[in-house]
Point group: C2
Chain length 132, copies 2
DNA sequence: CTGGATCCGCACTGATACTG
DNA sequence: CAGTATCAGTGCGGATCCAG
């Protein structure tokens, strides 16, 4: 049964929930950055840590585990001394990264518009407050 | 200066940060759902509440404010009794929603693969734990 | 009907220290 | 080098009550 008469009733089960599924996997704070870096080829932990500015080693580890769990990353351990671990994006991850492009483009083309909208909104807020 | 030699050094300033910008706007738990519903035309608050299953009125209000602030939603108040408020997606939001399609498609086509990968990973974890 | 205000639990995240 | 363990802060999100 449609939740609202006259409205498309396949909003939630359709594209939206699928989008959220993707977001839950890749929408984490560092997910895309890591996939982006590892898309070029295997990268070591320390290099990854340097390549993603601002990430802590803890979050790097956690995010890597999640991505590996979802089959987006291949983790290769070389039993050397000192130990060496390489992470590489799978084809699945590369597809995902490519699917990300449209959204990036949108953001890139419209971030000024968003900025302007926010400023305008905040200004209206402020002037409206002058009437208590 | 490149963070990692041999690696593309425009990972963060490029597509990735733009993607994160978009995510910060629309990656909230309910953002896309609301944009999806309001893309078809103006929708009232109560109808929106029914059309997005699981959302609380509080989060609906908060998310609507954010979207309106970013110029993604138009809020129209009819000074009737009882009050009536309609929300409609702007063209900007509709573009954003369209840019979302690629990611939704990816999720739709690959969610089984993700599921399988997770099961396999968890099984390996479990059997590895048997050796303490 | 459409919110605002408040309280509160929880999950994400970072800092730090420690280990194989 | 590549993690793990623990502690603590922060903000999101829900529940509830109140208001125009």
């Amino acid at each position: 049964m449609p939740a609202v008469s006259g409205l498309p009733d396949d909003v939630e089960p359709g594209a939206c929930s699928a989008f959220r599924t993707a977001l839950d996997r890749v929408g984490s704070k560092w997910g895309i950055a890591i996939i982006a870096v590892t898309s070029g080829g295997p990268v070591r932990f320390a290099d990854l840590h340097r390549a993603v500015p601002g990430i802590s080693r803890r979050m790097l580890t956690l995010t890597l585990r999640t991505l590996e769990r979802d089959g987006l990353l291949i983790r290769t351990v070389y039993p050397t001394v000192p130990p060496q671990v390489e992470y590489a994006a799978t084809d699945l991850a590369k597809d995902l990264f490519a699917s990300t492009r449209a959204l990036s483009d949108w953001a890139e083309h419209n971030h000024e518009r968003l900025e302007a909208a926010r400023l305008a909104y905040d200004n209206d807020e402020e002037s409206a407050r002058q009437y208590h």
